[in-house]
Every structure is written in C-alpha cells, then in structure tokens.
C-alpha cells in the first residue's frame, strides 16, 4: 500500500527546482523592460524606427525623370500611368502618376528606374477621404529628403555599401544591356529615334537603295542609352532586340 502511494511520488524532488528557471528569465526581462523601452509603441504619438530603404509610397524626383515608362511596364498592380505635365519651363513632358489606392508598395518602380528618379519613401500614412485623392501626380510624388538608400537599386547594392561610401553598382547590367539592330528587318521608319526619351538614337544614312533614296539606319549612342526598351517595343518590324549580357 505504501509503495503504491510512493509510485507517483516525484523521484527527485530537487528537479522541481526547474521552476526557478522561467522565473529568473522573467525577472531578467522585467529588469530590461523597466530600464529600457518596451516592445510596444504608442503608435500615433510614437513612430517606429524605419530603415533607410523602407518601402513606403513611391517618390519621384521630377528633374531626374525622363519619362521612359519603365515603371509603368514593371508595376505589378498597374497603378502607374504616364501623364502629360508641364515641366519647369512649361514644356509638356511625360511623367508617371501613381494611384496609391492600387499601389502594393513593392518598390519595383524604384528598383527598375534606370535613372533612380523613382524612389521609395518612408511615408506610410496615406489615408485620404476620397479615392480620387489617392491619385498622386508627378509633382505630388516629390519627397524632400531623399537619401541614397531610398533609390533602391536593382542590382545588389546593400544599404551597408552605401554607408561605406560605395554606392556604385556591383554589376552594372544597364551599362551593358543594349538594344541591337537586325539590319535586314529594318525599314528605316525613324520610330525608334522618336520614342527614345534620352535622344540616344540617331538616324544615319547608310548608302542609297535601288530607287535612289537614302537608307536610314539607327545608331545607338551607348553613353546615352538607358536601356528602357522603348525602341524595341515600338519597332514595327521587330528589328531591334535587347541584347542581354549574361
């Protein structure tokens, strides 16, 4: 009978001192949280610390943008549209307009922007009263205090690299990717030269055809080209392709 009573008795009573372990852990945490700030923050009054490349709403540096439309093509939610706005001198130019009601804050536009005109910003409080107010025009997209970290680079450029004074692209893909002409398909329609946003394409006479008219062929200025692939997309005969550098 006595043995039956002892069956369920704790074998080693000292082992039940394990309860001290969580108590000690809690006490340590208590000491830490009393002296430091606790994990939760009082949101409207306190803001969370935001990293340099936090992907909030997109921002635009109006003067840097050339209106190539790369962001429009890359946007996964199709919230970016190119609209015509007057620039500082009053000339009409094409600039992106973002519908933040659809924006997923993915930051692809900033990543793919060849000129780093499109950036991410740390702004995330975007509530408005109407949906129409959520349309951010090119001027409204401007964000003061853009830092190098906000120009999210497509290639591997880490925030730590920027901190160390090395903001250069590790692999300069865009310096190497260039449109390439298939000469036999080209009809010399000059469309590529018209759509090029940075005027990198110049139509050059390459001899005379059978009827005595000049043969025009595009010549691409590699120093100017930003590889936005507008010419490739607009070529009526598919004579231009992007030559990928692997």
């Amino acid at each position: 009978m006595a043995m039956k009573y002892l069956d369920k008795y704790p074998k080693n009573l000292a082992k039940s001192l394990w309860v001290l372990k969580p108590c000690w852990a809690v006490l340590k945490l208590f000491a830490k949280t009393v002296t430091h700030r606790s994990m939760t923050i009082l949101y409207p009054y306190e803001k969370e610390w935001i990293p340099d490349n936090y992907r909030g709403r997109p921002g635009l540096r109006f003067d840097k943008c050339v209106g190539c439309g790369m962001c429009v093509r890359m946007c996964p939610t199709a919230c970016i549209k190119l609209i015509e706005v007057p620039d500082d001198e009053g000339k009409p130019v094409m600039r992106p307009q973002v519908n933040l009601g659809r924006c997923a804050m993915c930051g692809y536009c900033a990543e793919y922007c060849p000129l780093d005109a499109m950036t991410v910003t740390p702004e995330y409080e975007l509530a408005e009263y109407t949906r129409y107010d959520l349309l951010y025009g090119p001027r409204r997209l401007n964000y003061e205090g853009t830092t190098p970290g906000m120009e999210v680079k497509l290639e591997v450029t880490l925030p730590s690299d920027i901190e160390n004074g090395n903001p250069e692209r590790r692999v300069s893909l865009f310096d190497l990717d260039r449109p390439e002409l298939t000469d036999s398909k080209c009809i010399g329609c000059k469309k590529c030269a018209k759509v090029c946003p940075v005027d990198a394409i110049e139509m050059v006479e390459k001899g005379v055809n059978d009827k005595g008219k000049p043969i025009l062929r595009p010549v691409i200025d590699n120093s100017k080209c930003i590889c936005c692939s507008n010419c490739v997309l607009d070529c009526p005969k598919d004579a231009l392709q992007i030559k990928e550098v692997l």
Binding site: P10, C23, V26, L29
Partner: protein, 390 residues
C-alpha cells in the same frame, strides 16, 4: 429674547483625547479611531454649532457632542477609514499586477491616467454600468447570497489584518487563526455558488475550488502553527514583536516560507494554481454566470484575497511592520504595505513565468510535496526550539 453668541470654537475641541472618553472601545491607542474621533469633533462640532445658532439652547447640539455619540460617530468614520485604506491598497495591488505583468511581457501595461492607475476606476465604472443579469434557472437564494458572502468575507478578512500596532480593528489573542478561518470560508462558498449556477463549468470550477482548499489548507495551517510555535503566540502583534526581537522568521524557516508562498498563491486562486477559474478551459469557472457589477466585485475580492495572502506572508516571515535595527518606524503602516507589495511582486513573477498546473498535479504537489515540506519545516523549528536557539 436676547441670545448669546457662541463661537464655533466652543463646540470644537481640536485636541480631544479619545482615550479619555469613558466609552473608548479599545485597550490601547488606535490611530484610525483617533483620526475618526477628531474628524467627528470638527464635523459634528460644526453641525452642532449651526443647529445651536438657529435654535439656541436645544438638546440636539449637546447630544451630538456628548461622549457616547462621539464614540459612535468616530467608530463609523473609523470603519470607513479602515475600509478605504484597504480598498485603495487593493487597487494599488491591482494596478501593480497590470503594470508589472505588462512589463514582464514586454508590453506597457495600462496607460489610462496616473500611470495607468485610473484604469481600475474605469473598470469599476464600466462594470457598474452593465446590466445586472441573472440566468433564469439558477438557484436564486444561493446565487445571490454566495457572491455577497464571498465579497463580504474577503473585505472582512482584509480589514482584519492589522497594519501596525496602532492600526487594527480588533486585537485578538488568536488573530491569526481567525483570519485563516475566514480566509478558508470562501472556497466553500465558491463550491456552493458553482452548484447554484446550474452550469457545468461553474460546477467543475466549484469542485476544483473545494479540492484546492482541502489540499492546500493543511500545509498552510501546519505552517501557521509552526510560526505560532516559534513565536509562542497566535497574536499577530506578538508574532511580529518576537521576530523584531530575534530574527525574521524567513531565515530559520526558509523552506516553510517558500511552501507558504505557494500555498498562499493557491489559496488566493491565482495563476499557476487558478484551476478553479481556469480562463482557458473553464471560461472563468465558477464566475461564468455572474455578470456586471457582481463579477467586478468578485474580481476585486480575488485581489483582496491575494493581498491578504501577501499580508499573512509578511506577518509570518518578514516581521510585519518592523524594520531591522529600527523596530517600529515613524510610519509602520507604510512599511507593512510596502513589504506586502514586495511579496505580491513575486506572486506576479510566478504568475508570469509558470503555466497553470493540471488538477492531478495540483493534488500531487499539495499532498506529496508541500505537506512533507511543511512537516520538515515543523521538525526544524522543533529542533531549534528544543535546542534553545529561540
């Protein structure tokens, strides 16, 4: 008729000595009664003076300021004062639990006014505004009486704990036993109310409360008897003075102190021994059917029982209101309360760190761990007593 003008100072005696009153209800000096007496001197004196202004020479004014009436009114104010102090200290305990628990969980705790203290007031108001509903098929009499008795008994027990030699309600020779007896009554009422609510969760909760009481009351009473043996008295004042004269009893009775701490946690039905309410499995257990202010009062009573447990620990092991080398300080009541808050802090710590114990584990711990430990503690104390150390 020419009336004599009697100054208000003729009616008020600011330096009235309650001890000189022939109806003085205590044997020794009592601070809250003294405060109540002087308050009545001012209040009743002003009323009596006003009445005398209007009806000069009337008997009511003199009756208001006679010895017997003064004692009666002073006793009323005395009761109110004792209750208010106890109530506020319970609210502080409540606030402390919320705040410390928040910090231990890396949160902020309550934030409503005065560092979160006003949350208690807000909660009280909120529960007060709620509709006072009662289910249809409950046993009406037990349902209503149990909650009243649980709350009343908890308040009574807490008021009976003396805060110092001059702050007490009744100076019992067997104060410790009476407090423990009232303290142990509540689980019985919980069992009855669990049955009265006609709800299986409540019934299970009540059963568990009874089981908890049976298994934890025994080691607790052994421990109290041990301390009484060491001090040679059941009087709380004597126990505290004995500790002040020799040494805090937590040092010779360290095993007993730890055991008593956990037993008191179980008696107050706090996590990790709160199987009677067991939020997660029993949906607040025996409190399930109590709505509105009833629930609020039960919650308050829970914390009152918690602070009674802490006070008992302080009296038994931490020398009550005395400090080493100082003895009775200038404000012994504050010392006592601070010590009990310290003990309560450890209760919060245990609550935060440990998970709820299973029912069979609770019985195992109660009967097979705490019970032998308390007997071992008793043996140690007997050896010390026989060996002539104390």
């Amino acid at each position: 008729m020419v009336q004599e003008y009697s100054s208000i100072l003729n009616w008020i005696d600011f330096f009235a000595d309650p001890m000189a009153n022939p109806y003085y209800p205590f044997d020794v000096y009592n601070l809250p009664f003294d405060i109540g007496y002087k308050l009545w001197e001012i209040l009743g004196g002003a009323i009596a003076w006003l009445i005398n202004l209007i009806f000069p020479g009337n008997p009511v004014s003199t009756w208001l300021m006679c010895d017997a009436t003064c004692t009666l009114m002073a006793l009323l104010i005395f009761m109110l004062l004792v209750f208010i102090v106890v109530f506020v200290s319970t609210l502080i305990v409540l606030w402390m639990e919320r705040k410390c628990l928040g910090r231990m969980m890396d949160r902020r705790g309550t934030m409503v006014g005065m560092k979160g203290f006003l949350q208690c007031v807000a909660d009280g108001l909120k529960t007060f505004m709620k509709e006072n509903t009662a289910p249809k098929k409950v046993d009406k009499m037990t349902y209503w009486w149990c909650v009243a008795l649980i709350v009343g008994l908890s308040v009574l027990v807490l008021c009976m704990v003396p805060l110092s030699q001059r702050w007490f309600v009744v100076d019992y020779q067997t104060g410790l036993l009476i407090i423990m007896a009232f303290f142990a009554l509540a689980p019985f009422l919980i069992l009855v109310s669990g049955w009265a609510q006609n709800n299986k969760y409540s019934l299970i909760g009540g059963m568990r409360a009874a089981e908890l009481m049976i298994s934890y009351e025994v080691p607790m009473l052994i421990l109290i008897a041990t301390t009484a043996l060491l001090a040679g008295s059941f009087n709380i004042g004597d126990i505290v003075n004995a500790q002040n004269d020799t040494i805090w009893y937590i040092i010779p009775q360290i095993i007993g102190a730890i055991t008593f701490f956990f037993c008191a946690t179980a008696e107050a039905e706090r996590v990790p021994f709160d199987i009677a309410e067991a939020e997660a499995e029993l949906v607040e257990g025996w409190q399930t059917e109590y709505a509105g202010m009833k629930w609020g009062l039960i919650m308050l009573a829970d914390y009152m029982r918690g602070s009674v447990s802490c006070s008992m620990f302080v009296i038994l092991y931490l020398a009550g209101w005395t400090l080493p080398f100082i003895g009775n300080g200038p404000i012994p009541e504050i010392v006592f309360l601070l010590k009990s808050y310290l003990v309560f802090f450890f209760m919060i710590l245990v609550r935060c760190a440990l998970a709820r114990v299973r029912t069979d584990q609770i019985l195992n711990i109660g009967w097979k761990v705490f019970m032998p430990l308390s007997v071992i503690n008793l043996a140690i104390v007997l050896l010390l007593k026989v060996g002539g150390v104390f």
